[in-house]
């Protein structure tokens, strides 16, 4: 799941910054983790770019199993009476 990858990527990026700022690595290693850091930073930024605002609803199919469908909140709010929910 994307959630695991992002957290790991961020942690690794943080570790790379710490190593480079310590400045104790030989040149080749510094270059290598620099490149890794740049790649990770791109990956993280990509994951933060998604902006589709998706909302789905589980509907029971004919076979009784539930499937996801896109859900339009406004549509449903107008359609039925509230179950008695009191607005906070």
């Amino acid at each position: 799941m994307a959630t695991v990858k992002f957290e790991e990527a961020l942690a690794r990026l943080e570790a790379i910054v710490a190593e480079l700022e310590r400045g104790e690595l030989p040149l080749e290693d510094s270059m290598r983790i620099f490149e890794e850091g740049m790649k990770l930073s791109k990956v993280c930024l990509k994951m933060l770019e998604e902006a589709e605002r998706k909302v789905e609803i589980l509907i029971k199919d004919k076979d009784g199993k539930k499937r996801t469908r896109t859900f339009d909140i406004e549509e449903h709010a107008e359609a039925g009476q509230d179950n008695g929910d009191v607005e906070d």
Binding site: T3, F6, G37, A51, V55, I57, N83, D85, V86, D88
Partner: protein, 456 residues
């Protein structure tokens, strides 16, 4: 019949008992009675048999299983109970009892008591333990929501969540959030999310309402479904002050559905700032590393004296010294000559004959003195020259060799090498050392400095 029985009416026990039964059952067919529960027994049939008592008296009672199911709270010895029911007489034993059709605890509401009882029971099982609670995911992508599709809760959750991060997907599993069927639907919805397994976290809740409205979230069924969920659960029952059983069991409790969305979804802007910050620091750190290295390389380069420049410098110094030597010699002779001339003038100034005589006798002296002075001058000049030669010698390329440097030239052309790129592996080079020479074959060339450690 009013008044007592007619005198001398003789009853049988059964007849009397039957009569009592009729009286009692008709007079007490629908009464309310309050007392303390004691001697409670509930055999496997599920019917509850107990005694209602007060300070002075006691009354047998039975509460059938069907009634017991609708009670929501459990009967306990010592409990003060308010009951509605009818009194009956059990003829074979000749005793009476109240058949309870409705009961509620005195003082505390039935619901409240049920809540307390369930809470105590689940707590004892450890379902509320802090150690059981799981951390919420750092960066959830799919959030499962169990709530009504028409209420304000789902709209609030979607609004808050997408404002913080439009990249999350909200998945609604719609349920009734009050009424008879609600608890079952909520529990089932949580199970379904666990079966599908693609959500990172669940939010279970509804907007505010009365204790009755919120009751499904106090049901054991819901509590157990939350406890069994492998996916972390956030309870979001819109009741700022009070806690429902669901709130106690959940991994995290939010006071409202909007607050739940805030807890679950991290503000994307913060994450963005963090990632960009790390990127910047990485670039800066690497630049610093490279600058550092550059400075060190330059320092080393300057530290190593270039032999060619050294020889040129030495030659220049030699020329310089030679010139000064000549100048010194010229000056010396000039001084001598003027000294001699001065003497001659002196001599001539005195008596001419004497002077001539003196001059004649002086002349050999003068000659000697001149010779001596020239000798001295030459000696000084020679010594000065020797010093210069010594200095020159120290600066000569050959002396440099004595300090450990060597001159490398291409073989057989004998052109001096200054750059590693001028040769290739396999070429032969001639090396002039302070003592001796070498003919070597090139193994490897590198345009940058080869580190001391020997690695390339």
């Amino acid at each position: 019949m009013t008044g007592g029985p007619p005198p001398r009416t003789l009853y049988t026990v059964s007849a009397l008992t039957a009569l009592l039964r009729v009286h009692i059952e008709s007079a007490f067919s629908n009464i309310w009675v309050e007392g303390e529960v004691s001697n409670l027994r509930i055999p496997t049939s599920g019917h509850a048999y107990f005694t209602l008592k007060d300070a002075a008296s006691q009354l047998r009672a039975v509460l059938f299983r069907s009634v017991g199911r609708s009670l929501r709270f459990a009967l306990q010895d010592g409990m003060q109970l308010v009951c509605r029911g009818r009194v009956t007489v059990y003829e074979p034993k000749g005793d009476y009892q109240v058949i309870v059709e409705y009961a509620e605890p005195k003082g505390v509401g039935a619901l409240q008591l049920a809540f307390e009882q369930l809470k105590a029971r689940l707590a004892a099982e450890g379902l509320f333990d802090q150690a059981r609670k799981r951390p919420l995911p750092f960066f959830p992508r799919r959030i499962g929501v169990v709530t009504s599709p028409t209420g304000a809760a789902i709209r609030d959750i979607v609004q808050v969540a997408h404002k913080r991060d439009p990249g999350v997907t909200i998945v609604l599993n719609p349920v009734a959030v009050q009424g008879e069927t609600a608890a079952g639907e909520i529990a089932r919805a949580i199970e379904e999310f666990n079966e599908m397994g693609d959500c990172d976290v669940l939010v279970v809740g509804r907007g505010g309402g009365s204790l009755e409205d919120l009751w499904p979230f106090n049901e054991e069924l819901v509590a157990r479904a939350i406890a069994a969920s492998r996916i972390p659960v956030v309870s979001a029952v819109g009741h700022e002050i009070d806690f429902t059983i669901a709130d106690f069991v959940a991994d995290v409790r939010a006071p409202t559905p909007s607050a739940a969305a805030e807890l679950v979804v991290r503000d994307r802007l913060d994450l963005l700032k963090r990632v960009v910050g790390y990127g910047d620091r990485t670039v800066h750190a690497v630049r610093a590393v490279l600058r550092d290295l550059h400075a060190r390389v330059e320092a080393e380069r300057r530290g190593l004296l270039d032999p060619t420049a050294l020889v040129a410098r030495a030659m220049q110094r030699r020329d310089d010294l030679e010139m000064r030597l000549r100048l010194a010699q010229a000056n010396r002779l000039k001084d001598l000559r003027s000294g001699v001339e001065a003497l001659r003038q002196e001599v001539l100034l005195r008596s001419p004959l004497q002077r001539i005589q003196q001059g004649v006798t002086l002349l050999p002296h003068l000659r000697t003195r001149l010779q001596q002075r020239m000798k001295v001058a030459l000696e000084l000049g020679r010594r000065s020259l020797e010093d210069s030669i010594g200095t020159l010698h120290a600066l000569s390329p050959l002396a440099i060799l004595g300090r450990g440097y060597s001159i490398t030239r291409r073989w057989p052309e004998l052109t001096v090498l200054r750059a590693a790129s001028a040769v290739a592996p396999g070429d032969v080079v001639h090396v002039r050392l302070a003592a001796g020479e070498l003919l070597c074959e090139v193994q490897k060339t590198a345009n940058e400095l080869i580190r001391e450690s020997g690695s390339v």
